[in-house]
Symmetry: C2
Subunit: 358 residues, 2 copies
């Protein structure tokens, strides 16, 4: 940051409790930069935002401002303001862009084309694998994968992008110096290292329920489209999808069994007009970004297992049929099946039947 | 049939090899009833259909005509012609209605409001259960369930309608006196008893591949909408759905996992504009036919099992969690789980986790 005083004024404006985003934008619209807001004085500010202007002059957030400046002086830690060239262009298009963004990692990523992937914290094993595969394929095609660092689909999407050596951005609902949930700490470190973690909330902000839906508008706002993988009908993912629609972003949803509660949110979106998506290619085609065919690859499995997977086919299959098709001994077959089951590639169905999961 | 001679002329017209439906309609348009075609004579007929008119006068199908008349004189066996008041009104709306229909069972059903349900012969167990549940619920609401008596989804749809004590119509691709496939013979008997079996093909017509797609236009034509349950992307069910669209019927499709090959046909239809359907109620609402809420009921299970099902919830659940939630002993729990698995209500997932299937 070249202009430390300017940045200090941005932080002062945004770190005063009771002065929210809308009020900040009113003041900026009236006076220009934050420095001008403070030099214009109490009376001038009152003419724009009424008595709340007193907060601007009676509350002194300088301790928090100094802490934030110190934080941003560390390597790979940045504070971007609406006035910065590095501030993401996509967010300037939305109705309520945050005045400042706290970024850990590569801030330049925020200017690249990104796709949001969101979904349930209570995803199924298959849903997690689907999210990871899609993220891998799409990140491999150069799209940044944007998500919310939550457990479940969010984490799987980030992981897929990282595994592809691609870009990923985590938009979080706590301060950028706080990581939530704790279980994703290692993942967060990898994202800060290879991608970017973004928050609009002041440093030190703990996990507060109300901040997460608000955070969702940044996830959709940064992206050119939102892909919902598994979601309950009343869930944060559907809020993100609705915000995406309002922001003019594409909405994509992956269907699932009508008996799966986490498919219902996706089905609701498709009924409302979201694009039904079966493959990563479907997304790329819709985004008009076709390069080469995308293949969602199976996790590597040993050759013998692949033979068994081929023998299984895609329909549920009885043990007897498998014995005949694979020409393995029963002991050998059961061992292989267990290996595949543990690898998440096969599930046992009622009546000793087996089904491929991919 | 009041006018046996008239019916004999309809049969004569339609039992001459080489005189197909389109030719029949040209002749009927020119001369009125079949009797008038034959009394008009060879030259007059030539002026309408060219040299093929000779077939009408050189070929004598009277043996087949007599056999058909004898067949139709038996109880619950009927031949309906385009000129009959009992001929289904819905088929008069389509471009290529059959000149005659052979019906076993209750011919009056053909005038009632019906929904076609079609899908894969290689359906999954879950798909079969879904088809049966939907058919049960929709037939319970007074819709006739129309399908093709094939193995898989077709049979499940017929069975569901029968189980609800509702109406069901099987449109078959063989002669009405031949039943195909043999495995569905018992089901066919029940349909002839409680519903109706319909064919446009002459008595004795064996199973010929080319006749089945042709038959599909009758399935969609008789119905106000077509519901596709599980279908491969290149399958007869999608032909039926396409014909339904061309005939101005609603097309409904039930989504499934993107990893299930038999969901791909349904997804293709939804991408093309078919209505995504999750419940029988979705279908009724779209057809503007709402009465009371429809509930697709679980197969009956003992009380203790229901407790366990409730403990399972709808997300995959570990054995440890189940132990804690159910407060059963491990032996007792495993026994109950096995019972539920055998009843098709629960599946084992990789890593000793369990999931409800409904």
């Amino acid at each position: 940051m070249n202009n430390l005083e300017g940045l200090a004024a941005w932080l002062r404006l945004t770190l005063i409790p009771g002065i929210g985003g809308e009020t900040q934008r009113k003041l900026l619209a009236a006076f220009g930069l934050p420095e001008a807001v403070f030099s214009a004085g109490r009376l001038a500010a009152r003419s724009v935002i009424g008595n709340r202007a007193d907060l601007l002059f009676d509350f002194d957030p300088s301790e928090a401002v100094d802490r934030s400046l110190a934080w941003a002086s560390q390597p790979d830690q940045h504070i971007l303001t609406l006035a910065d060239a590095a501030y993401p262009r996509t967010l300037l298009e939305i109705a309520d862009p945050p005045s400042v963004l706290y970024v850990r990692g590569n801030a330049a990523l925020l200017q690249q084309r990104g796709l949001a992937m969101v979904g349930s914290r209570n995803a199924t094993p298959q849903g997690l694998q689907t999210a990871e595969s899609f993220a891998k394929a799409l990140a491999g095609k150069g799209l940044s994968i944007i998500s919310g660092l939550a457990l479940g689909i969010d984490a799987a999407a980030h992981r897929g992008a990282l595994a592809a050596g691609g870009n990923t951005i985590a938009v979080i609902g706590t301060g950028a110096d706080r990581l939530y949930p704790a279980r994703n700490k290692e993942l967060a470190m990898a994202i800060a290292d290879q991608g970017a973690i973004v928050s609009e909330f002041p440093l030190g902000t703990p996990a507060i329920a109300a901040n997460f839906p608000r955070r969702n508008r940044i996830i959709s706002g940064l992206s050119c489209g939102v892909l919902v993988v598994e979601a309950a009908p009343e869930s944060g993912s559907l809020i993100t999808a609705r915000l995406a629609g309002e922001q003019g972003r594409e909405v994509f949803a992956i269907p699932g069994s009508i008996h799966s509660p986490v498919a219902r949110g996706c089905h609701k979106l498709i009924k409302q007009g979201a694009k039904l998506v079966e493959t990563a290619m479907d997304v790329l085609e819709e985004l008009g970004n076709i390069a080469e065919p995308v293949t969602v690859t199976l996790p590597a499995a040993a050759t013998e297992e692949n033979v068994l997977l081929a023998a299984l086919g895609h329909d549920p299959c009885s043990l007897d049929d498998l014995l005949e098709r694979s020409r393995l001994s029963i002991e050998h077959l059961l061992t292989e099946l267990l290996t595949l089951e543990l690898a998440g590639l096969v599930a046992t169905l009622p009546g000793n039947r087996y089904q491929r999961l991919n």
